[in-house]
Amino acid sequence: MNEILEVKNLETNFFGKNEVVKAVREVSFNIYEGETFGLIGESGCGKSVTCRSILRLIRYPGKISGGSIIYKGINLLELSEKEMIGYRGNEIGMIFQEPMTALNPVLTIREQIYEALRDKKLTKSDKEEKAIEFLKIVGIPSGKERLSEYPHQFSGGMRQRAMIAAVLVSKPKLLLADEPTTSLDVTIQDQILKLINRLKREFSMSVLLVTHDLGVVAEMCDRVAVMYAGKIMETAGILALFSEPRHPYTVGLKNSIPYIGSQNEKLHPIEGSPPDLSNPPKGCPFEPRCIYKEKICEEILPELREIKPGHFSRCHFVEKLENEKGIIKL
């Protein structure tokens, strides 16, 4: 199984008038062909920024200040803007969180799907055919009529489907899904996730799924990276992550969601709030909220250590956690 994408020490900063917000700090992970890789964390932890960095969609005053993003052996960060265009869409597609804002309100769905079909040879009728076909694929019936409608005439779920269609027509190999379901209500969420799963198989894509929802991760992902305050705290296979999490933050996350059939209904939200990223603590960023914290945590930022094959964690007390399995309710 070979890598399709490798992110190494990615650094993305936002340069405000009087401060620099370090949104993504030395993030590294990789995605294998055909797998779904999850990136989870509270909103603002930098997961979306990481996602956009891959397509180099970081807006002024943001800037990718370091690291490398290697897609099929090519470092995207070294490409010219012109070369980059070649990768957007055809190679890497992206589904945005808010279809309402991601679709141009004054353009018909037709225009927005057609423009993704960049093959010059295509005639109008070809394009229409394709568009309708893909609308059907994403589950929008009677595409012919819907094509000439505007986004605001679509329901939330339909809009998301339409956007997915607009992304898929150019058959990307890697699909970035930035919180694709956050803006939708639960029933629709499930449909969309299922849809993504199905399409992933049909088009044999790899997927990077960005979400703050452990449930979604559990349902979709093969491997997961947990992000906190712009850093990766833990990376693991989905089972490992849930069965034996090796980072207090991950634990915290887990304890904060109800489990069907779990013994006690009591939930443990994580107290406190993430650090200010314009001057991150020099120690462990999670330290202030951590229940295992000790002196050292303030002083030294732990390494991301491989504690088991394929299982990485950034904590001084991985072993301690291992011994106290008890607190982890399954």
Partner: protein, 313 residues
């Protein structure tokens, strides 16, 4: 509601407003002390002369009666004769309107030519030096009194070097063209400034929009994004503003027309107020009101046309 019904509904709404406006203006101008006759005859006219002329002009009748006559004629599309010039208002207005239309048209052309590139540039260069310069320029332009700018331009381009005539309208179309450039430019400064700011802010906001990124993520090149996704969306408020300015200018730009001695609607308006040429004032104001409201309706319709999200209630 369909566009047509909507338009129709709006057009119906015009009528009562027109009626109220007509009443307002009719009585308001007659409230102003001084009447056309004494003003024209001057302070030393004998009461006898005044009496004769008042009767001649039909101003001896009670005001309500005059109003009824006015409305009667209006329904026959006759606005009556100018008290000062003794010719039909419409005849008098025709050439004045030509001047004002000409002025408005050129002002708009200048405004767009100036504001579009600048506004767009400022937008995409948000907070960069170009943006700063353009915005400051716009601010200064906004705070510059038109009559002053007009005079200064006159000194520069008409008095020192005779590139343009110093006011006046001329007889041939060529002269009209030369005559209109300075005033149109003067007037365009403010409009251009407003438009440029409007476009700039529009572009700035749109650039923050996800759909621009989404378009990018689809691998579109900058040209397509610029034309299809940025400009097209930014045009909506821009075009609306242009229409509003047009409506404003069609009222006749009293200041500009005074400074450049252009025989436009504005000049006619102020002449008529000074001369208490009641019939002309009524006529012009009514026409103006009609034009403004029509343009407002057209604006809303264009807006609806450009922005599919707008629905008619």
């Amino acid at each position: 509601m369909s566009m047509l019904n909507y338009a129709f509904k709006r057009i119906i709404q015009i009528i009562p407003i027109l009626i109220i406006v007509s009443v307002l203006i009719f009585f308001m101008i007659r409230l102003i002390p001084g009447d056309p006759v004494t003003i024209r005859l001057g302070p030393k006219a004998t009461p006898e002369m005044v009496r004769i002329l008042t009767i001649k002009e039909g101003l001896d009748k009670p005001i309500p009666v005059q109003y009824i006559i006015f409305i009667k004629n209006l329904l026959r599309f006759d606005m009556g004769n100018s008290i000062v010039y003794h010719i039909p208002i419409l005849v008098l207005l025709k050439k004045r309107i030509v001047v004002t239309l000409f002025l408005t048209l050129f002002t708009l052309i200048f405004s767009v030519v100036i504001s579009f590139p600048l506004g767009y540039l400022a937008g995409i260069k948000e907070n960069k030096i170009q943006d700063q310069i353009i915005r400051t320029g716009a601010l200064v332009a906004l705070s510059a009194p038109q009559f002053w700018v007009g005079l200064i331009l006159m000194i520069l381009f008409a008095v020192s070097i005779h590139i343009f005539p110093v006011g006046g309208w001329g007889d041939t179309w060529l002269q009209h063209l030369r005559a209109i450039i300075l005033p149109a430019f003067t007037q365009s400064l403010m409009t251009a400034a407003l438009l440029a700011r409007n476009l700039r802010n529009g572009v700035v906001d749109i650039l923050k929009m996800d759909y621009v990124d989404f378009a990018k993520s689809k691998g579109l090149d900058d040209k397509v994004i610029k034309n299809r996704h940025i400009i097209r969306n930014a045009m909506i408020p821009y075009v609306t503003l242009i229409a509003m300015r047009a409506a404003y200018m069609l009222g006749g730009s009293i200041i500009i027309e005074t400074v450049f001695a252009l025989p436009g609607v504005g000049a006619l308006m102020i002449e008529s107020i000074y001369g208490r040429d009641y019939t002309v004032i009524q006529g012009v104001v009514l026409i103006f009101a009609l034009v403004v409201m029509t343009i407002n309706i057209l604006t809303d319709l264009t807006y609806a046309y450009l922005d599919p999200r707008v629905r008619f209630e």
